[in-house]
């Protein structure tokens, strides 16, 4: 079996006095989709943001424990956070392209990281837009504003913008919650395509979505990782009573 690419050990996170994550121990396998489910406020988005240190932006956050990406503890004092974030990218709940052209959105990361020349503009645009299945629709209007796109296209563009910096891990924070069911289905198909090359961790409040897309699944409640197992098993034969209550719709 593959070595885990993302691993947390004894992870506690506090917003001031409030403990949002309680002793999280988690192992994520590479090149598959792992889902985190749980009711609102259970800490699943917080956990996701702890994996690329996006919580650093919030004042009053304190983190204990370790998060390993490919064997490196990203909370080590000498960690290069910027280089780490390049490897661990994020897709947000609301599609948030920059108010620039489609092309400029995709070249943003490579220009920042000085890798545009290496790959070449045309290769970059085709690779990333092909990967999110927008190339055929958009290849003739790359200079149009990204804000002229539909919500679904915007979210795909955001994924393409992320793929442009060639990350290893994609963190997705409810990436379909702003989309209609048909668009959601198409994004899920896209995730299936992407997992061949990328490790994907997806937070979702939609249990059916977790069941459809993920290989392994974690259930969180009140800051605890209650259960983590292979998805089929979690949905048919959960070991914890609280998991069973949640997936059978007793709360959440």
């Amino acid at each position: 079996m593959d070595q885990p690419i993302v691993q947390t050990r004894g992870l506690n996170l506090y917003y001031g006095d409030f403990q949002a994550l309680k002793d999280i121990n988690l192992s994520i396998k590479p090149r598959q989709i792992t889902a985190l489910i749980g009711p609102s406020g259970c800490g699943k988005s917080t956990l996701l943001r702890a994996i690329n240190r996006m919580n650093d932006l919030i004042a009053g956050v304190r983190v204990e424990g370790e998060v390993f990406i490919g064997g490196e503890n990203i909370y080590a004092p000498d960690m290069d956070i910027v280089a780490m974030r390049k490897r661990v990218g994020m897709v947000f709940q609301r599609p948030n392209p920059f108010p620039l052209s489609i092309k400029e959105n995709i070249t943003f990361g490579p220009i920042i990281h000085n890798t545009l020349k290496q790959e070449g503009l045309d290769n970059l645009l085709e690779r990333t837009l092909q990967a999110v299945m927008l190339w055929d629709t958009l290849k003739d209007r790359l200079n149009q504003s990204a804000l002229s796109l539909s919500l679904e296209q915007r979210q795909r563009l955001c994924i393409a913008r992320l793929l442009a910096v060639m990350p290893d891990v994609l963190l997705m924070d409810e990436p379909c919650s702003a989309l209609d069911p048909a668009a959601t289905q198409r994004i899920e198909e896209l995730l299936h395509e992407l997992k061949a090359q990328y490790t994907i961790i997806i937070v979702t409040h939609n249990m059916q979505q977790a069941a459809r897309v993920s290989a392994e699944c974690g259930f969180m409640l009140l800051g605890e990782l209650v259960e983590f197992s292979e998805t089929g098993q979690m949905f048919t034969n959960p070991t914890d009573q609280r998991t069973e209550d949640y997936i059978s719709g007793r709360y959440g």
Partner: protein, 281 residues
Amino acid sequence: MNAQRSEKLTFALLLAATIIVVLPVLVIIGIVIKNGVGAITWEFISTAPRDGMRAGGILPAIVGTFCLMIGAMLFAVPLGVFSAIYLNEYAGDNLLTRLIRLAIINLAGVPSVVYGLFGLGVFVMFFKFGTSILAGAMTLSIMNLPVIITASREALSNVPQSFREVSLSLGATRWQTIRHVVLPNALPGILTGIILEVGRAGGETAPILFTVAAFSLPFLPHSVFDQCMALPTHLYAISTQVPNIGLDVRYATAMVLLAVVLIVNFFSIMLRMRLRRRRQW
């Protein structure tokens, strides 16, 4: 009173308030143009004054005012924008930064003559710049800072937080995020503050009275350590200090001052519109 009538009354009141605000401006501009336009000739705007400023033109004052506006912005824009970036993007919300903010807001309410005396004390005398364009431009820039900082901070904080998050999540550093994402999107708002203050730098009399303005200096300045004439102080001089100057010359000078400010504002507003069109969210 029924809802419909009170709605109409409110509308009428608001409209009246707007008209009362706009009307005096139009009347002033109208009077200035009516009385001054006759004295505007090519000679008036392209030559130096003669005969104790009773004849000739006002070119040195026009050039001086442009020098002061540009000089003031050279100091005030980088200083103001950088400190706004610091206050909004880097500094936390603590007692010290709150005090700084309070101080900046209060600074905006200081009478301009106080800035003039401050400039005289600090730039002219302490730094020994003498009465010079440098001292005047610096004094004006201090006067311009509060509004530029406040407008820039406002513009920066209006940039959606999600833009910053995306940029950082793509591995950009904080400064790259500010440079490539936050600043370009805040630029129209920052420009609004600058536009307001360019006009003020061109029009204020008191701050330059002690720091740069020459009563009559019929030459163009050669260096930043020269004194120069400026339109507002020239207007003040010919209106109060020099007898036997035609009313039309005074109005024409006022008209040129208004025109200079309006032209600068016009170009800035065009620039801002172009920037806005490119970036909308």
